[in-house]
């Protein structure tokens, strides 16, 4: 079976639980692709009328939405970290059922947070998932500064928060059980840009296979991270993606490779490649953000990505690419992962595992930038991350 988990190493009761949870997770992840409910949900359109800052807040009516932060941080004593912080809104119904109960909900809120300690090579991952209720989590309404919040993972007293600070975003995530915490504040170094013309980002040939997508490609970042119980004050740069839509993936697509690269010369590159069941490229697009913030949108034939190595996850047996050569026009960039093991293994949702990791960018053997890469749909039974 396509979605059957392959995590043989999990044991006994936990395995059973995961199996059950996995079913649930699969169902709601694939709900949009299998049930043809698009007529009820709003779909991404090329002429979407953007309105900022309101569009930073949740756009109810679309099935999926996320706020995705990745970046590189450095402590005062030079210790380097990569991080990821994401809030997903998973739409269950376009509108909230009219029930006299606080549990009446039409959304789930899911949080993923990860820290890659580049010095020790340790990768930490935490997650939370809750039904949107006044007790467990929710999404703010403009002009309230709160964009999204949720209870932390079970076993953690504190909340996970995402706020609009007037210029960009502040966010925090904590996992008491894993002794990890992210608490960061950001400020834009470059303005918001649209990914795809007017923020319309195609993901396939189908009419509805698209999302509304914008990014802050360079956010000055400061705050603290805690790993293994040790807290570090950090500064660095982040990349933020906000995306929302319904049914953006085609049925035959099983995963994607996504790159966000910040080059030292002030430019940024975003590329994504959607793979089909044969692992061949099904659809691909990209954006180059120039130093002055101008964007150049790339079609599939305007760039080329070649894998140069691989890494096999000892936990999931998934074989991920571990290096790439990217050709865009005349430019040839080499991308290498900072650490091999940056795989996120979701425990709350059975076989959801993906690689989300810090990378460095080289040109002719010289480091010219850094970035983050997301690899989903690798390994038998892996379910693509959103």
């Amino acid at each position: 079976m396509m979605f059957e988990g392959k995590r043989q190493k999990v044991k006994g009761k936990r395995k059973d639980r995961r199996k059950a949870l996995f079913i649930v997770f699969c169902i709601w992840f694939f709900m949009g692709w299998t049930q043809g409910e698009a007529e009820e949900w709003q779909i991404a359109v090329p002429d979407y009328e953007w309105s900022f800052p309101q569009d930073h807040w949740a756009r109810e009516g679309y099935k999926t939405e996320w706020w995705y932060f990745t970046g590189h941080l450095k402590s005062e004593n030079g210790r380097e970290f990569g991080y990821q912080f994401t809030f997903f809104r998973v739409g269950l119904l376009p509108t909230k059922p009219d029930l006299d109960s606080d549990w009446a909900a039409n959304n789930l809120i899911m949080g993923h947070a990860a820290i890659s300690d580049l010095e020790t090579g340790q990768h930490y991952f935490s997650e939370s998932i809750h039904r949107v209720t006044p007790l467990l989590g929710g999404f703010g309404v403009y002009p309230d500064t709160l964009l999204a919040w949720s209870r932390g993972p079970v076993g953690t007293q504190d909340r996970w928060l995402l706020r609009w600070n007037g210029d960009a975003f502040d966010f925090s995530a904590v996992d008491a059980g894993k002794d990890m915490r992210i608490d960061l504040r950001t400020r834009p170094k470059k303005s918001l840009i649209f990914q795809g013309p007017k923020g319309y980002s195609k993901k396939g040939v189908g009419e509805s296979a698209a999302s509304q997508y914008y990014s802050f490609t360079r956010l000055e970042t400061e705050g603290s991270v805690t790993v293994a119980g040790e807290t570090f004050d950090v500064v660095g740069e982040s990349w933020m993606d906000k995306e929302f839509g319904s049914n953006q993936l085609d049925e035959n697509q099983v995963g994607w490779d996504w790159f966000s690269l910040q080059l030292d010369d002030g430019r940024e590159v975003m590329l994504y490649v959607l793979r089909d069941k044969t692992n061949a490229v099904d659809y691909a697009r990209g954006t180059i953000v120039l130093v002055d913030g101008q964007t150049q949108y790339l079609k599939r034939d305007e760039f080329e990505i070649q894998e140069t190595g691989s890494w096999t996850s000892p936990e999931t047996d998934a074989i991920y690419p571990a290096g790439w050569i990217i050709k865009v026009g005349d430019e040839i960039l080499t991308v290498q992962s900072e650490m091999k093991n940056q795989e996120n293994q979701a425990e709350l949702v059975g076989t959801l595992f993906y690689w989300e990791g810090a990378v460095r960018v080289l040109r002719a053997g010289k480091k010219v930038g850094r970035g983050y890469v997301e690899l989903t749909g690798y390994g038998a039974g892996s379910v693509p991350g959103l």
């Binding site: 009761k13 059973d16 639980r17 059950a20 949870l21 079913i23 649930v24 169902i27 709601w28 709900m31 049930q35 409910e37 269950l92 119904l93 059922p97 029930l99 006299d100 109960s101 606080d102 549990w103 009446a104 909900a105 039409n106 789930l108 998932i129 809750h130 039904r131 007790l135 467990l136 209870r151 932390g152 079970v154 076993g155 953690t156 007293q157 008491a176 059980g177 709350l348 949702v349």
Partner: protein, 842 residues
């Protein structure tokens, strides 16, 4: 020897089929009576545990309210604890199926999106939009759907309180696959829909918790208990089981005690059967001994045969016991749900240890019964075995000694009880055991005394009775067995009759309003089903209604004891007679309850906790524990361990606002109650309410009472059957024992009819003697049950009433059955030819 044993067994079976069948049947009945009760007893608790397993799965802890519900906001505190791996809230409602009498479903409202594994995982649907938004979407069990002829997509009308709600069958999920003891009546739906359609928002009934691997469960429990406060209890599954076990312990113990009495009687039968078998084979043993068989071999033969008979009895007893349990599980189940609001017993499971118990009772009992006679028989010399014989020759001369021992037992037990034994909760059972042990010991002497004065004028009934006395060695056992059975029968009949009448009088005194209205899904005291406010208002203003009393009832905790709390309009005009006080001044008490927030407590609670007027009772309230002053103690027949009555205003003060569970209407003078009931039913046709006149309410209360004691009646029947089998067996022994004597009668001219009459007379005589002994024992047993056991376990005051009709009916039945039981032995005896007269006998 083994070959001989096998061949001899076969030959004896052919020669005395009736005796063999009776013996096996006797053992089987003894085994079955104990077994059936044990199966039911065990499954009563298993039903609770099964239901707990079905609902909570492998949860390590559960947070339960000390009131029916707890604020759902506590869930946040639970999931914030560092030792918690997963937690999920449950909203649980008992609803009644419309159009079916007392057919309840347990609806579990669950967060379908909680990332946890729960027993009803399969109930998670493919299309979540239905779960969330399709009104009434619910997952049912295929078992229930098949039984009711439902399919996915069908709508099912249910009553939740006074609301009529339609549930939609969204999925069929076999929860029993995951938890075999789960009730097929479990229905799972999304928590939001459950709160909206069936209850209220902001509250849940429990929060289940799975603790992280390697973390100390008790540590998490203690921490959560401290964090969540005293208004909830954090308990392990074992603690929940123990609480339930404690709740129904008195009920189970009573059943067990009754089954043990059946066993006691059954052992008599086993013993009698062994005697009968030995009598038949006496000459054979003589022959064997004379041709060189050793005493040990004879002993082995006897015990071997008893083991075979016992084993057959066990096999049959297992079947009968299971059948008995199955036939009675419904009534016990109803009692559990009516009185204790527990889960129904939907499936019966046999634990392996029950087979062991059955084997021990059957084979062990038989061997025990045969041991002494076997030793005796193996020790006799050949001549004595081959000559005309009697068993228990010494019983006649031992009668006074046995009587002395019996009286000694009474005295010792009686003195022990009076000198302080009464303080022990189980003292009543010691008295009962003493009574049932002493009674058989008195029997030989009693028979001797009762038959001594009989003058024989002809070969008729008097002769029969006299010969019962003369053949004490054999008849005493059968009479003693019958006396025990009759004691039990009379004792329980007298107790139940008295209890029934006491309850009847109590109900007539306390059910004083004219019309009673409850929500259709209300199962009994403590159930949460409520009436909606607009309905209550409409009834209050209904033409012909003079006054209305409201009841808000729920279960609360006093220390670790569960109490049924009732908030009533204590000041309602004419309503004071609802409570008959056992302790406390009538007028002062009601004033204190009305104005000062004091409480009335039920007798059950008073006796169990030794709380009386002037004391206070600590009860968990919203934010802690409050000591409520006791204004009075009222007569109460609550089974749940205690009841307290407060004024509604006091309830609201300490437990916050809540819904009314039932109302009682007092009508204007001259308004006909039944007409009013019809008018109310017509007016509130669409609401799910049961509207009853006071007469119907009383009748229903008595019906539930009768149902509760149905199992007891079954046990009575089994005991009686065992005793009657005993009589038949003993008469068969007599027929065999007296072959020479009967042949002599025939030789000197007695007709077959006369010999037949003699034996029927003996049966009747034994029946009469057993009856006399049994009635005396039964009355004593009833007094122990009424004044000691019931008070100690339930705290009920029962007045003694004599159910003459039932008692006379039973006496006549016993005598009739004794005669019937003697027909076959009489027929056998009457066929004894004069040629059986041996040379030794002349």
């Amino acid at each position: 020897m083994v070959r001989y044993f096998l061949k001899a067994m076969g030959a004896h079976f052919k020669a005395g089929r009736m005796l063999f069948v009776l013996t096996v049947f006797g053992v089987a009945l003894g085994v079955a009576s104990v077994l059936s009760i044990q199966i039911i007893n065990q499954n009563a608790l298993a039903a609770f545990e099964g239901s707990m397993q079905a609902v909570s799965g492998d949860a390590d802890l559960s947070v339960l309210g000390r009131m029916p519900t707890l604020p759902e906001s506590l869930y946040v505190d639970v999931i914030g604890d560092v030792g918690v791996a997963a937690a999920w809230p449950l909203y649980r409602v008992s609803v009644a199926l419309a159009d079916r009498e007392r057919f309840y479903l347990e609806v579990i409202g669950f967060d379908f999106f909680a990332p946890v594994r729960v027993p009803w995982d399969g109930g998670r649907p493919g299309d979540f939009s239905d779960v969330l938004a399709r009104p009434g979407w619910a997952a049912f069990t295929p078992t229930l759907a098949n039984e009711m002829g439902w399919a996915v997509g069908d709508s099912v009308k249910i009553y939740s309180g006074s609301r009529a709600v339609w549930l939609q069958i969204g999925a069929l999920v076999d929860f029993q696959k995951l938890s075999p003891l789960a009730s097929p009546k479990v229905v799972v739906m999304d928590i939001a829909q459950a709160q909206h359609l069936l209850g209220r928002s902001g509250h849940v009934h429990q929060i289940d918790i799975r603790v992280k691997d390697g973390v100390d469960v008790n540590g998490v429990r203690d921490r959560l208990q401290e964090k969540l406060g005293v208004s909830v209890q954090v308990v392990t599954p074992e603690q929940r089981s123990r609480q339930t076990e404690g709740l129904i312990s008195a009920f189970r113990l009573n059943l067990t005690a009754l089954s043990l009495i059946s066993l006691f009687v059954g052992l008599f039968l086993v013993y009698s059967s062994t005697q009968a078998s030995l009598v038949r084979r006496r000459a054979e043993f003589g022959m064997l001994r004379s041709i060189g068989t050793t005493r040990r071999q004879v002993f082995g033969l006897i015990v071997g045969e008893v083991v075979v008979v016992g084993s057959l009895g066990v096999v049959l007893g297992l079947v009968l016991g299971y059948w008995g349990a199955k036939a009675n599980v419904d009534v016990v189940s109803s009692t559990l749900t009516n009185l204790y609001l527990l889960e129904e017993i939907s499936t019966l499971q046999l634990s392996p240890w029950l087979f062991g118990v059955a084997g021990l009772i059957g084979v062990g009992g038989a061997v025990l019964g045969a041991l002494l006679p076997a030793v005796d028989m193996s020790r006799r010399d050949t001549r004595s075995l081959l000559s005309a014989f009697t068993l228990h020759e010494k019983i006649g001369s031992f009668a006074p000694h046995l009587c002395g021992i019996g009286l000694g037992v009474f005295v010792v037990v009686g003195v022990w009880f009076l000198l302080g034994g009464w303080q022990w909760q189980h003292a009543g059972f010691v008295l009962a055991v003493g009574l049932l042990t002493g009674l058989p010991l008195l029997t030989p002497m009693a028979i001797h005394v009762l038959t001594r004065g009989i003058q024989i004028r002809s070969f008729g009934l008097a002769y029969s009775l006299k010969s019962v006395g003369a053949r004490l060695q054999t008849t005493a056992f059968a009479v003693a067995a019958l006396a025990i059975a009759v004691s039990m029968l009379v004792g329980i009949t007298l107790m139940i009759g008295s209890f029934r009448e006491t309850l009847n009088v109590w109900i007539r005194t306390t059910v004083v309003a004219d019309v009673y209205v409850t929500p259709s899904s209300w199962r009994g005291q403590g159930d949460e089903a409520f009436l909606e406010n607009d309905l209550i208002q409409a009834m209050r203003n209904f033409d012909g209604v003079r006054a209305m009393d409201q009841l808000r009832g729920f279960l609360v905790y006093s220390n670790d004891h569960r109490l049924a709390l009732a908030g009533v309009d204590i000041g309602v005009p004419g309503g004071a007679s609802r409570f008959t006080l056992l302790d406390g001044d009538f007028e002062t008490a009601f004033e204190q309850v009305h104005k000062d927030g004091w409480v009335l407590i039920g007798e059950t609670l008073a006796r169990k906790q030794n709380l009386w007027v002037g004391d206070s009772v600590p009860i968990y309230v919203m934010d802690g524990v409050h000591e409520f002053q006791i204004a009075g103690v009222y007569y109460d027949y609550n089974a749940q361990g205690g009841a307290v009555v407060l004024d509604l205003k006091t309830v609201e003060k300490y437990w916050g606002p809540g819904s009314i569970n039932s109302v009682a209407l007092y009508l204007e003078p001259g308004v006909d109650t039944e007409v009013m009931v019809d008018a109310l039913k017509a007016e509130f046709e669409t609401s799910a309410m049961d509207i009853r006149s006071n007469k119907r309410l009383r009748d229903e209360a008595m019906m539930i009472f009768d149902q509760t004691f149905a199992v007891t009646r079954l046990l009575q029947g089994i005991s009686l059957l065992i005793a009657v089998c005993g009589i038949a067996l003993m008469l068969l022994v007599l027929a065999r024992e007296q072959v020479s004597e009967l042949a002599l009668y025939r030789a000197i001219g007695a007709t077959r009819r006369q010999v037949f009459g003699l034996f029927v007379g003996k049966g009747l005589g034994m029946g009469l003697l057993g009856l006399v002994m049994g009635v005396v024992g039964g009355i004593a047993l009833a007094m122990v049950l009424i004044f000691v056991i019931n008070r100690a376990y339930f705290g009920w005051t029962i007045q003694v009433y004599w159910p003459w009709g039932a008692l006379v009916e039973q006496m006549v039945t016993i005598l009739g059955v004794s005669v019937l039981a003697s027909l076959y032995p009489a027929l056998k005896a009457s066929k004894t030819p004069a040629t059986e007269l041996g040379r030794d006998d002349v």
